[in-house]
């Protein structure tokens, strides 16, 4: 019975500590922070990047093993927060793995860019509420 209690306790701890997806960041050229009123564009794989942009850094979302908040829109919202913090206004998806037999999570590789123009005029993915 003691062993059972230990197992339950361990599962509970694991469940609570690993529910967020794993985020790896690499910022090579951070720009001045953007405010919540600054628009950020989401460019999916099929959307092209505009010209004259500055690369700010890279993000990678992976499944931590117990991730739950890891659907496509949720990950993009997290990416937008990181983008604004580092002065980027374009979130460009460069690799996308959909949920499959190995993971119930989206796994994304993202590049962040700064564009000195109106990002709302770019063809882009519109974020949705799941």
């Amino acid at each position: 019975m003691k062993l059972m209690t230990k197992i339950l306790f361990l599962i509970t701890i694991i469940g609570f500590t690993n529910c967020s997806p794993k985020l790896s960041t690499n910022f090579t050229n951070a720009q001045p922070k953007l405010s919540i009123d600054d628009k950020v564009a989401f460019l999916d794989i099929e959307h092209n990047l505009p010209e004259n942009i500055i690369k700010v850094g890279k993000l990678r979302f992976q499944d931590s093993g117990f991730s739950t908040d890891c659907n496509f829109n949720s990950l993009l919202n997290k990416a937008r927060i990181e983008a604004r913090k580092n002065g980027a206004n374009i979130v460009k998806i460069i690799d996308k793995k959909k949920p499959d037999i190995w993971s119930t999570c989206y796994r994304l590789k993202i590049e962040l860019y700064r564009f000195n123009g109106d990002v709302s005029s770019l063809p882009q993915y519109k974020l949705k509420l799941d």
């Binding site: 339950l8 599962i11 509970t12 919540i36 739950t68 908040d69 949720s74 949705k128 509420l129 799941d130």
Partner: protein, 157 residues
């Protein structure tokens, strides 16, 4: 007979597991109202309508809540995940399946407005009833706005 008892016990554990998912569900109804009303509401920067507004939100996500109205300061807070006590039911009855299922459906959480140093953002009140979350926000006047006049309908005889 012993086998029957064991089967019944096992069935009960399986059926009663996933306590929080069964009781609370994976989504939570959130109603947002404001003073004054008809304020534009955004969740994760997506326009969801004007107050009062209702939305059935996933429990396993956090949301940025923003309210905007001309002449008032933009209101911002987060809806964060808090522990849903129904989850303890799994531990009490030894529902291993529930311990796995509830976090995956998000039922282990309940959504609440974010508290910083145990204080809600100024102008925020909330209550819960039958698992639903009711948030009321008092918008603060933006002092940078000044009234310069008023248009009135002229009455012709």
């Amino acid at each position: 007979m012993k086998t029957l008892i064991k089967i019944l016990l096992l069935s009960s554990i399986l059926l009663l597991s996933s306590c929080a998912t069964v009781i609370s569900g994976s989504r939570q109804n959130v109603e947002i109202s404001s003073e004054p009303s008809s304020v534009k509401v955004y969740l994760n920067e997506i326009d969801i309508g004007k107050t009062p507004v209702n939305k059935n939100l996933k429990r396993n996500q956090e949301y940025q809540l923003t309210l905007k109205l001309e002449g008032y300061k933009t209101y911002e807070t987060k809806l964060v995940k808090k522990f849903n006590a129904w989850f303890i039911g799994n531990i009490l009855i030894g529902g291993v399946i529930g311990i796995m299922v509830d976090p995956s459906t998000g039922a282990v959480y309940k959504l609440r407005p974010e508290e910083i140093d145990k204080n809600l953002k100024s102008g925020t009140t909330y209550k819960t009833k039958s698992g639903n979350l009711y948030i009321k926000i008092s918008m603060q006047i933006d002092p940078s706005w000044k009234k310069v006049g008023q248009l009135e309908k002229s009455i012709k005889d």
